[in-house]
């Protein structure tokens, strides 16, 4: 019997042959991976040969959903783009909200795999069983919002969900994003560049099928109850009001607000970037992604000043950070405008802001001059300059062409010691956290499968000091160290446990905000819901879910190991490990990564010296099949 919640089909779009294939989802995958990231990891490891060029024909782009996608369970509108990243050269993934994931399920497919490379610009159109690869020459060069509008008008259906790339994706900016619903970005690791390299301008999806679950009545009951929990949760209520902007004040208080290219963790102009300041002045509407009763998306409008007339959703906290404190800019309209440019051109806001911050610091230290930047004297706190550079990056013009390679590659080409100002791990620019005043995120940044990443294992419980939650989750014996953000002790245990929960989140797929600050839903809630949804009884046990999570983490690690990643790459920029925090509540703090790494590898069953999964772990997680692919390069 087909398990509930799945469409049961994998759709493959072969661009070389301009053809589609439909395959059933192998039944053993369900029990081993659940879906989402798990399925995609299985496919990517299997089909992309080692050392393949991320922008070459052999790379795949996978759009994956999970069994929860498109059902009544709260925050079930998420979906994930997965590919080998052109920014980092390793595992790349980017989750996105909006509506395209559920629509793909309603069209009858769990996973879309895009293979090969089209000779001319095309877009992939999926409407139930009507599958087409359509000429997109007239769309090439358009911004993402224009692409969505054009495709909807061509199909004469405003409900077609479009994932589009902008000019940045076409030009293979290494951190180009894929945009859905005009303002939801699959931002990180350059998934837009992969689509651009394949000459795919957009993916258009429309579906009319239904999703049946195993025990409908019980599932609806559980889902309605879950929605009630979301609505009553105080953190969720704050999120509905301010979105992720609540974080600015939190980060400032604990001295973790990345400022001046992560040099310090406190920013004097933080107040104008906080939710309390922004909402009454600029927010005109609240929006949500599919099936979400939290509704964290804010529509903002600028009434006056240089950016008057800007109407756009967002940005998130990360965007406020990247085009705010990171560049020393204390101005919401600038961040909103930057967000709009990022959305329209299709650029990752975090990486773009970080690259500009890198260039600014390198300029200030005399490592690059105005001849190189095309006459721009880079300085902190200059809004107009930041937006100009962003536009240059997105269009790869002038100095922007160099920054479009990402800060790692740009610093390598500039040389002269500029590497110290490129704040990245494995090529991915560091997100809006700082390991010095929040040790566990230091470990997360160092070990994240896609690089310096806050979404794979960000522990918020220690950072925000939820003692009771920590005691319940990790045991009273680990208190008080585990909630002390300045010690390395027990942090690996917290990171591993959190990463496991997040892996299940990414397999289902549900939104980040349902499992954080502190979680509305725990692994136990998923263990209760999954058998009702799917009918697979082994999902009902927490230990089985943990094993599935471990398999996902280890498979991603094996993928990276095949690209040459090992313990030596699990590092942090010297800014966090050598330079102590210069000011603020965490003054003098720095990260001592090694003891945390040792603990982490041991808990994961990876070798402490190499940082790679041991043979025993590979066998325990039934990943032996990966051996036959290891030598395929």
């Amino acid at each position: 019997m087909k398990p509930g919640g799945y469409a049961g089909r994998i759709l493959r779009a072969d661009l070389n042959r301009r053809d589609f294939r439909v395959e059933p989802v192998p039944s053993e995958w369900v029990a081993e991976y659940i879906g989402g990231d798990g399925f995609a990891a299985r496919i990517l490891y299997d089909e992309v040969p080692a050392k393949a060029d991320p922008l070459g024909e052999k790379n795949r782009l996978i759009l994956a959903t999970g069994p929860v996608t498109g059902t009544l369970w709260p925050m079930s509108g998420r979906t994930v783009f997965i590919s080998k990243s052109p920014l980092t050269g390793i595992w790349g993934e980017s989750h996105v909200g909006g509506f395209i994931g559920p629509e793909l399920k309603y069209a009858g497919y769990d996973v879309l795999v895009i293979e090969g490379r089209a000779e001319k610009p095309v877009y992939v159109s999926i409407c139930d069983q009507d599958l087409e690869i359509i000429n997109a020459s007239d769309l090439w060069g358009l911004k993402t919002d224009e692409v969505s509008a054009a495709i909807r008008s061509r199909h004469n259906d405003p409900d077609v969900q479009v994932a589009a790339i902008g000019p940045a994706g076409e030009r293979c900016v290494r951190f180009a994003s894929v945009i859905v619903n005009n303002a939801r970005a699959a931002g990180r690791t350059g998934m837009g560049a992969v689509l651009g390299s394949k000459n795919v301008k957009a993916i258009a999806v429309r579906g009319h099928q239904g999703i049946a679950v195993n025990d409908h009545e019980r599932f609806v009951e559980l889902a309605n109850d879950a929605h009630r929990r979301v609505r009553q949760n105080p953190q969720a209520q704050q999120m509905h009001k301010y979105g992720t902007w609540v974080l600015t004040a939190v980060k400032q208080t604990i001295g973790e607000l990345p400022t001046y290219n992560h040099r310090t963790g406190v920013f004097s102009g933080w107040e104008k970037l906080s939710g309390d300041y922004i909402r009454p002045r600029y927010t005109i509407g609240d929006r949500a992604c599919f099936g979400c009763s939290l509704g964290c998306k804010k529509v903002n409008y600028i009434r006056e000043g240089p950016y008057a007339g800007t109407l756009e959703e967002g940005p998130e906290y990360e965007g406020l950070m990247a085009f705010g404190s990171l560049l020393g800019i204390s101005d919401f309209p600038t961040a909103l405008r930057a967000n709009q440019i990022c959305n329209r051109l299709g650029v990752d806001m975090i990486s773009a802001g970080s690259c500009i911050a890198f260039a600014t610091e390198a300029f200030q230290n005399g490592l690059i001059d105005s001849k190189m930047t095309g006459g721009i004297d880079l300085e902190w706190g200059n809004s107009e300059q930041a937006l100009r550079l962003l536009d240059m990056i997105g269009n790869r013009t002038g100095f922007g062409d160099l920054l479009a390679e990402g800060s790692r590659e740009a610093s390598r080409r500039i040389g002269r010691g500029s590497e110290q100002f490129a704040i990245h791990v494995k090529g991915l620019e560091v997100s809006g956290q700082d390991g010095r005043t929040h040790r566990s995120i230091g470990l997360s940044h160092a070990t994240g499968a896609r690089g310096a990443d806050h979404l794979r294992s960000l522990v918020t419980v220690d950072q925000l000091g939820y003692q009771e939650v920590a005691a319940k989750r990790w045991g009273c014996d680990k208190l008080p160290e585990i909630v002390d953000p300045y010690t390395e002790k027990y942090k690996a245990a917290a990171v591993v446990e959190t990463e496991n929960t997040y892996c299940i989140r990414d397999a289902l797929i549900v939104c980040w905000y349902s499992v954080s600050w502190p979680p509305i839903f725990w692994m136990e809630d998923f263990a209760q819901m999954l058998p009702v949804l799917t009918g697979v009884s082994r999902f009902g046990e927490r230990k089985n879910l943990i094993e599935i999570a471990e398999r996902q983490v280890t498979l991603k690690r094996l993928f990276n190991a095949r690209e040459g990643i090992s313990r030596k790459d699990d590092t942090l920029p010297k800014r966090f490990t050598v330079d102590p925090m210069p000011e603020g509540p965490g003054k003098g703090q720095k990260v001592n990564l090694e003891p945390m790494l040792n603990d982490y590898y041991r808990l994961r069953g990876w070798d402490e010296i190499t940082g790679l999964p041991t043979e025993e772990t590979v066998r325990r997680l039934t990943l032996e099949w990966t051996h036959s692919h290891s030598a395929s390069s």
């Binding site: 005009n182 239904g210 999703i211 679950v213 409908h216 609240d286 006056e304």
Partner: protein, 181 residues
Amino acid sequence: MILCTGTLDEVDTLPSMLIVDQTKCTGCRICELACSAKKEGVFRPSLARLKVVRYDDLGVDIPNVCGPCEEAPCVEVCPVYAMRRDPISRMTFLDEDKCILCKSCAGACVNGVIRLDTSRMRILKCDHCGGDPECAKACPTGAIQYATAAQASVLSRHDKITGYLREIRRTAQTQESGGES
């Protein structure tokens, strides 16, 4: 001792209807999910009896529901009297046995919520779940409510006043902090 002798004034009980406040709608489409879950036993928004129209360029979402209609074009256009209107509740109902699938009602519906299910060849029409509509229960923000017209006007007046008060407070605050908007 009898304190009160007269009879109470007679109050007409007004019919309830689905009332939409689009300013509260976040576009999450939980209403569509809840509707299809109840009516079809699967999660299938394309068969929901209501529809959220999203305008991504404007950042606006508008739920379209059945009613309240002053006139009922779906009733008037039906050639076989399959669509009828309850004189008290003012709700329109479809008698599927009489329906000849001419789709006139689907074309006439001003809210665009009468639809044809092409796979099972039938007209989909909201029936307010017999007086306990699932969409209103599921809506997380109260953008869709099931209430009488009188309640609706009280609610909307209340909303307006709270809105004005908020605006006054905001203006006062911003003027204090230097007069920015």
